[in-house]
């Protein structure tokens, strides 16, 4: 982290903040979906009051946390990796290799700036609306809040790693749009955005909870709800750290290969 990276993040934050109408429309959409999902969950937990170990308050809170995290971790894709995808498509990426600064760190910083903006707007605003409309559960104490605060940026980093890999697929297949759609469906399903992972059937749940997408929503939500407590909180954070480090290392490796390819093939 350097001053440069802070200023990159700041600029990314500012860039998103210029689209006020889009932000407000987005918040409205999140609220509508939050309400719809709450109706569904209310019906489900009426029938099965302790489904997945959640009570109905947990479930309703989970619904709003999901809405808050959609844009913050960019479940559907987007953020700075989209800029990279565009620069790969246009060929401008060749010039990025001439700069005396690392490409990966650059894009990480830009995406963190974006994520902060989305957290403060499309994260917090729907949560407040949800809290007004429904009886939500809040983190139990300052330590839990702290764990949540640590968990969110980690979720962003893991998601960034996946999105950056998807964007880099453009180095080989020229257009990463297809990969992006594929990755988005996997992310929506395995993040537990529509159906919490705790409702997944046995074996699938066991697999899903350790996949990188589980760290987008399920891990922070379980910390928030107190479903993870004590050591389990640390285990959850450790899973996030593991995926963040592993994916970013993979990104660096793939980027080096891509660089060799770009440099050799012209541009």
């Amino acid at each position: 982290m350097t001053l440069l990276h802070v200023s990159i993040a700041g600029r990314a934050f500012r860039r998103y903040s210029t689209y006020t109408a889009a932000t407000l429309a987005g918040i409205f959409t999140n609220c509508v979906f939050g309400v719809i999902i709450c109706f569904v969950y209310t019906a489900v937990w009426d029938q099965r009051p302790h489904a997945g170990g959640y009570d109905v308050h947990d479930a309703l809170t989970y619904a709003w946390l999901g809405q808050a995290m959609i844009m913050t971790v960019a479940v559907w894709g987007g953020g700075s990796p989209d800029d990279l995808a565009e620069r790969i498509r246009s060929g401008d990426v060749a010039l990025d290799f001439y700069r005396p600064v690392g490409i990966l760190g650059w894009y990480v910083a830009a995406d963190l700036g974006r994520a902060l903006f989305h957290l403060l707007t499309r994260g917090i605003a729907p949560t407040i609306v949800g809290a007004i409309l429904f009886d939500l559960r809040w983190p139990a104490g300052p330590l839990t809040w702290l764990a949540v605060a640590a968990s969110i940026p980690l979720a962003v980093l893991v998601s960034f790693g996946l999105r950056f890999l998807v964007a880099m697929s453009g180095f080989w297949i020229l257009d990463s749009q297809g990969t992006k759609v594929l990755a988005a469906s996997a992310a929506v399903f395995f993040s537990g955005l529509t159906v919490p992972l705790v409702l997944f059937p046995g074996w699938l749940q066991n697999v899903a909870v350790v996949l990188p997408w589980a760290t987008f929503l399920q891990v922070p939500a379980d910390i928030w709800l107190g479903q993870r407590s004590g050591w389990e909180v640390l285990v959850g954070l450790a899973l996030q750290v593991f995926w963040a480090v592993a994916l970013l290392a993979l990104c660096a490796l793939v980027l080096r290969t891509a660089e060799r390819k770009v440099v050799v093939q012209g541009g």
Binding site: S7, I8, R15, D92, L95, V264
Partner: protein
């Protein structure tokens, strides 16, 4: 030692081609072969050659993003591929068809980010920015997002971006491609002033002979990875036997025009094509023709860089 000093510089690529269902044949492509190049500080050199001749491979090696397979290379006293990051602070790169600017950000923001990337001292940054904004007439555009700029405006932005950190060497790849005549002229004037006042060394690849004529006293021609010419432009024209063409539209049809200093190549109705040496002036020719003939219109066709190079071969 020269600022750019290459001796026996070579770069070979291994290419695999499918030759059957499962077999691949391995071929070696010599993108650059045994290139000697010495460029002194303050020179403006045109680096030309047909597509695929090895121009961008050379530039990539000079900037350190591509490692040579053989030969000796020093740029500003260092081995580029080993010291790429530190060398990046001393060179500027401009590609006519690519941009280093950030699409969504106003020009000013891109420049400020570059200041941080290259760690340009604030004073130096302010002076440089003010000067380039003035010379390239960017004042009204600083707050415009790059995506809204025209090609010519964006190009001026990219040139400014490449110069904010006071590079000793500026590599320009097709800097005038796609620009209109006025923008081309202004850009050339700027580059000339840059070289004269700051002593920046320019290495310029282009297809536009007029870029070379306006800027470069020295031309290096490369083809198939090998240097085929290194010297002044006039010498290239002489060796290549290149000619300009005067197209004369007469009022009435006439037999081929006979005039000293030119030969009539083609006659088609009232239109005639006269070839004359590229380094000669068209003025006396035009005067001689208009004195004897009833001329409706005149135009001059410049020699094409490809033609010059082609003729360089057929002549040699």
């Amino acid at each position: 030692m020269s600022l750019i000093d290459a001796r026996g510089l070579s770069r070979t690529f291994t290419v695999y081609k499918r030759s059957g269902r499962l077999t691949r044949t391995r071929t070696e492509v010599h993108a650059v072969h045994d290139l000697d190049l010495a460029i002194e500080a303050g020179e403006m050199v045109g680096y030309i050659g047909p597509n695929g001749a090895g121009k961008s491979t050379t530039i990539k090696m000079l900037t350190g993003i591509l490692v040579p397979t053989a030969g000796h290379l020093r740029v500003a006293g260092v081995d580029p591929s080993r010291k790429r990051r530190s060398l990046a602070h001393r060179i500027g790169v401009v590609f006519g068809q690519r941009t280093t600017l950030w699409w969504d950000l106003p020009l000013r923001d891109s420049f400020e980010l570059l200041q941080k990337i290259y760690r340009v001292p604030p004073d130096r940054f302010r002076t440089n920015l003010a000067e380039f904004v003035e010379l390239l007439d960017l004042g009204d555009l600083l707050d415009t997002p790059v995506r809204q700029l025209s090609l010519g405006q964006r190009m001026r932005g990219d040139i400014t971006a490449s110069l904010l950190h006071d590079p000793e060497i500026l590599y320009l790849d097709e800097p005038t491609i796609g620009l209109d005549v006025v923008s081309k002229g202004r850009l050339r004037e700027f580059l000339r002033a840059l070289n004269a006042e700051r002593g920046t060394t320019l290495l310029l690849t282009t297809h536009d002979l007029q870029d070379i004529e306006a800027l470069c006293r020295r031309v290096v021609v490369i083809d198939h990875g090998t240097k085929v010419f290194d010297g002044p432009l006039s010498e290239l024209h002489r060796q290549g036997g290149s000619t300009r063409t005067l197209v004369v539209d007469l009022v009435d049809e006439a037999p081929p025009i006979a005039v000293e200093g030119a030969t009539t190549r083609r006659v088609e109705g009232p239109r005639q094509w006269l070839a004359f040496p590229a380094d000669a002036s068209a003025a006396p020719l035009v005067a001689a023709i208009t004195a004897t003939y009833n001329v409706a219109d005149l135009s001059i066709q410049e020699p094409d860089i490809e033609d010059v190079i082609r003729e360089l071969y057929t002549a040699g």
